[in-house]
Subunit: 400 residues, 2 copies
Amino acid sequence: MKGNITGNNRFLKEFNQTVVLDMIRVHKAISKAELSKLTGLSPTAIGVIVAELLEMGYITESGIGESNGGRRPILIELKPQSLYTIGVDMDVKYISLVLMDTTSRIIGEKTLDMPQNMIFEKVMDVIQSEIGKIIKEYGISTEKLLGIGLSVPGMVDSRECKIVFAPNLGWENVDIKHQFPDLPGIKVYVENEAMASAISENWIGCCQGIKNFVCINIKSGIGSGIFIDGKPYRGASGITGEIGHMMVDSNGLKCNCGNYGCLETIASTTRIVEQAKRLVKEGVASKLNDIQDVEEISAQSIIDAARDGDAVSVNLLLESARFLGLAISSIVNILNPEKVILGKEFVTYADIVLDHLKEIVRCKALKQTAKDIEITGSSLGERASLLGSAIIPLKVFFGK
Amino acid sequence: MKGNITGNNRFLKEFNQTVVLDMIRVHKAISKAELSKLTGLSPTAIGVIVAELLEMGYITESGIGESNGGRRPILIELKPQSLYTIGVDMDVKYISLVLMDTTSRIIGEKTLDMPQNMIFEKVMDVIQSEIGKIIKEYGISTEKLLGIGLSVPGMVDSRECKIVFAPNLGWENVDIKHQFPDLPGIKVYVENEAMASAISENWIGCCQGIKNFVCINIKSGIGSGIFIDGKPYRGASGITGEIGHMMVDSNGLKCNCGNYGCLETIASTTRIVEQAKRLVKEGVASKLNDIQDVEEISAQSIIDAARDGDAVSVNLLLESARFLGLAISSIVNILNPEKVILGKEFVTYADIVLDHLKEIVRCKALKQTAKDIEITGSSLGERASLLGSAIIPLKVFFGK
C-alpha cells in the first residue's frame, strides 16, 4: 500500500505542477496569490510548486503586478526558450518546419520543396535530416525537445501515429512512429492538416477558450477539424470532419472519392481554377484572357482579376462560396458550433466572398441554430496547420 | 475550515454512493467484492455504502452469486419500486405518459388524445392533471418521485427548461418550469424528442456503452439526437442534430424552414404520403388506387401496399430511404459515429428499405469513415422518446 500511496502522491504532484504551469500559460503573467485563488491550492502548496517549476527552469519571475493594497506582487511567466517543439507541415508542393518554445514563440522557420515523386520513405528522410539541422543550429539537447508534430493533408489515425490515406501525396497506411531512427527518444505525433489548424486556432488563434468550433481548410481539397467540448473530436475511428465529401449538389460531378456532387468538386481552389480555364477555352470574355497560356491560370490569377473588377472571376469565387455556405448551413444545423473558421487558401480571397457566404448561412441555416454563429477567415492565415503541428507536443506537455 | 471539510466529506460520500448505485444499475446484480474491485474503494468502505443504500431502501440483497472458491456471495440489485420517474411524450395527435422505477421497469402507461387547438397552457393543465392521477393511483409520495421528463417534437433549451420552437404544436419560447403549480417541489425536465430517443437507446436500448452515435427520428418531420463521448451533445445554444434541414437536393422543394431541398421535404412520412396522393390523382396505376378516398391514404396504407408487392409504393419508400442514406453519408463523413439508429415511424417500414439505405451509405460515404458503421432500426420502436423522457430524471439521480 505504501508504494501505492507514494505513487499516487507523485502522480498528484505532477498533476498539480501541470495544472499550475498551464494556468501560467493561459494567463501569460500571474501572481502566486492569483494562482492560489484560481487553483484552490493553499499559498504554501503554490509556493512549493512555483519553487519547483523555477528550479526546473520552466518559468521565470519577470515583472511586478498591480498592488491590491499591500506589496506589489511578483508575476510569474513561462520562461522563453526553456523547452522546444518542432512542427512539420506537408503539402504536395512544400514541406515547412517551425521551431517553437513553450511560450508559443517561433524561434525558427523554414520551407523547402517537396521531393519529386513524394516517395514516403524519401520524404521522411528529408524531414529527419532537416530536424537534425535545426537541432544542431539552435543547440537544442534531446531532453529539451518535447516532441515533433507532423501535419498531413489526409486522413490520419493520430492515436496510432499512422497516416491512413493521403490521396494527394499517394500515401496509404503508413506508420510514422519509426521513421526517425536518428532522433531516438523523441516523441512523434501526426495530425490531419485541418485538425492541426483547429488546434492552433484553439491555442493561439481566434478560438482560445471556445468549446465547440469547426475549422474548415479550403485549398486543392476541403477538410475540417472539429473541436467539441474543448477537445479535438475523433469519432469512432479517428477520421472526422470530412466536409469536402458532403454532397451539396445532387446533380454534381463525380468526385475522387467515388461519390457525386461533393463540396470538393465545386468549392476547392483546384475546381475554381478548372472552371476558369474552361471558360477561357470556351471564349468567354474576361480579364483571364489576358493570361497568355491558359494553363498558367491559377487561383491567384483569378483572385487578382476579381480584385481588378472582372465579373467572371468574381462570379467563380462567389459561386464556390455559395456552396461552401450551403455545406456550412448543414454543419450549423447539426453541430450548432460557436464559431466556423475558414482557412488556408480561402484567406487570400476571404474579403471578396465572406459577406456572401455569411448571407447564405443566414438564409439557409435554421435561425435558432445560426443566431449566434460567428464565421471568420483564419487570423493565422495559411500557416495555421504548421503552427498547429508544433503545438501538438505542447498540448501534451501542458496536460491538454 | 472544519465546516469545509465536513462539506467536502458529505459531497464525497454522496458522490461515492452515486457511483456505487450506478454500478449496481449497470451490472444489474453484483457482489460487494466486485463493487470493491471495480470502484477501487476498500471492502470496508463498500460495506458502509451498501448498508446506507439498503437503509435508504434503494437496493436489495436478492440472490446468491457464483462462488470463487469460498462462500457464495450475496448479490445486490436495485430495489424495484423504491423510487419513481414520470415521462411525458407529446405529439400533434397524442400525449403519452409512463411511470417507471429506478430499474427502468414500466409500472404504468397511458396515452390520450392531444387537446384540440393544442393551446400550450391547456396542454400543460392536462398533463398536470394526468400526472396527479398517476401519483394518486399508484400512491407515490412526492419524495419518492425523482422528477418529470417531457419529450417535445421541436427545439428545446433543456438547460433552461424551455421550448424554443415546436412548429407542429405552434409553441414558441415557452417556459416549462412553472407550469405545474399543483406539483410543488417536483423537478421538471424537457428534452427534444429525438434526443429523448437517443437517451433511451443509451440507457436501455441498443446504444448502451456506445460513446458516439446518432439517433434519427423519421415521422412527419426528421430530427436527431447526437451523443458524443457518452453524453448528449448540446452545441452552443442547445439546439443540435437538425438533420431534417440538411440540404440533400439542390433543386428541391421549399421547406417550412425557408430553405430549399431539406431532407424533410423528401424523406418525412408526410412527404411520402403527399407524393402517393399526387401519383393517385395523376392516375398512376398502383394498389393505392384501391383506397376509395385519396385523402385516406396514410403512411400505413403505403407500407401495406408495398408489402403487398405494389411497385409504386415500394419505390416511394425506397426513394425516401435513398435521400436519408445521402444525408447519413454526410453525417458519417463528418461525425464518424459508431452507430446510427433510425426510429419512430421508420421502424414500421425498416424491413422494406433498410438494406437499400445501408447500400447507399456504403457507396456514398468515404470507406474509411463508414467501414465500421452500424445502421439499424430502433429496437425500442416508436416508444423510444416516451421511455427516454422518463429516463431523464434517472440520469440525474445516477449521476450521468
